[in-house]
Amino acid sequence: MELKFILEPLLFSAQKPMTAKELRDVLASAATAEDADDATKPFKKVKDDDVTAALEELAREHEIAARSFRLVCVAGAWQFVTQPEFAPWLKALVGVKNRPSRLSQAALETLAIIAYRQPVTRAEVEQVRGVNIDGTMQTILERGLVVQSGRAEVVGRPALYSTTALFLEYFGLRGLEDLPAADELRRIPIERPPAPVTVDAGLATAPPEQLQLNAKVKLPEEKTSALPSSSPAAN
């Protein structure tokens, strides 16, 4: 029997989202039970990676099948979820989800910076946003989306902040690598061009060939990748 076919009903009946490790443990305990079926034996010592690979394949199959529900991994745990377009009917069935109010623009910006740059100090976030973030930090700390994860080994030993598993759950992300354009934003490699910015009469900015910031394009990844100095560090 194929591993993915065993994992599917396990997740179908599971009371909570299951990590690859938890699923592996289920496979192991099925194989070591006193009256263990012979079919369970080959999966006694299956590896986490194999479980994850099978789950990923299963998730792909569900996506290709384009059914109304999908297998997803949120914060490292796998579960079946419905597709968002069916929400109107599900809300009628199970009621509106009990979620805290939506985050403000300021909170989302702050969270984005912490998520991509973590661990990060408050001052670093403030530098990017150009504003004081005391109030916003308070909100996202209270909501458990970020935590203090240590102290920076610099003068004053300021607190470092990181996002939590709840952050991943709140946005339905598998992990931090699942953040949109994660490679681009993690440590933004915008550096001063090798040559000093030349002065263009009447235009108080660097010429396009030095900056090449296609600001009209909304997607941030296209801007960074166009930066010559950024490409080596983008990965």
């Binding site: 989302l108 946003r129 002065v199 900015t205 010429p207 600001a215």
Partner: protein, 266 residues
């Protein structure tokens, strides 16, 4: 005044306002005329200053940076501050552009997070109920009658006598024995099948008799002769033959403690 305040709250900070101004100009960030931008920015600041000084504080820092850039542009190229070796890379224009680009990217990332946030509101996980295996688990239990339920019940019976005997007190011989009462209880239950807890004590004359009957009841329960059941929560306790309650119950094993014995009466 209120009109302006609403407008300014749209901006999350000076960088946000600058991005807005650049967007309004419909130019790329790298093409923007920072001198013109500085003028526009300061116009906004002038409007803002009166209302919200706290916010204006951050905006003023930006305004001064822009003023510096603007003033620098007024000088001929050869007279501009030469970048010193020690503060290399401090070209204020580049610094501002870099900051704007960086902020823009995180602003876009925040917009994506917002999309995910809204999407997640409409995603429902599968939450299966706990699977019940009827043949291995006990059937839905009637409320268990424990020792404390019995004590509560006998206590309420005893209260009746407390009221009666207040005032004068009489001292009786111990006319009743537990073994006698065992016979009495068994007789009633054999005759009637089951009996309500209070009925068992209906004929009791005083506290001593009640206690004797109660001890007899406990003894019979201990010997697994009788079982106590409560047909529904808070209903009166009923007493029946243990064997009878088992026969009428479908799945209970005979070894089950009579106090936790259940009976299917429906």
């Amino acid at each position: 005044m209120a009109e302006y305040k609403v407008q300014f709250e749209v901006f999350e900070g000076p960088l946000d306002l600058l991005l807005y101004l650049i967007k309004k100009e419909e130019v790329d960030i790298y093409e923007v005329n920072l001198t013109k931008l500085a003028t526009q920015f300061i116009e906004y600041i002038d409007l803002m200053r009166a209302f919200d000084l706290d916010v204006a504080g951050e905006f003023l820092v930006m305004a001064s940076t822009l003023m510096y850039i603007k003033s620098r542009e007024l000088l001929p190229v050869e007279q501009q501050v030469v970048v010193e070796a020690e503060d290399e890379g401090e070209d204020p224009r580049w610094e501002l552009i870099r900051q704007l680009v960086e902020y823009k990217k995180f602003k876009d990332a925040a917009a994506k997070l917002q999309t995910l946030e809204e999407r997640q509101e409409n995603v429902f996980p599968r939450l299966p109920g706990k699977i019940e295996f009827e043949n291995t688990e006990a059937p839905a239990l009637k409320p268990e009658v424990g020792i404390f339920d019995l004590l509560n019940a006998v206590n309420s019976v005893l209260k009746r006598f407390q009221e009666k005997t207040s005032g004068t007190r009489e001292i009786y011989d111990d006319k009743w024995t537990v073994s006698e009462k065992i016979q009495y209880v068994l007789k009633i239950i054999t005759a009637r099948g089951s009996v309500k807890f209070s009925e068992l004590f209906a004929s009791a004359a005083n506290r001593a008799e009640v206690i004797c009957t109660f001890l007899a009841l406990l003894e019979l329960i201990r010997l697994k002769q009788l079982a106590c059941v409560q047909p529904e929560p808070f209903a009166e306790i009923e007493i029946a033959h243990a064997a009878q309650s088992i026969s009428s119950s479908e799945t209970s094993a005979p070894e089950v403690n009579p106090q936790t014995e259940t009976e299917n009466q429906q």
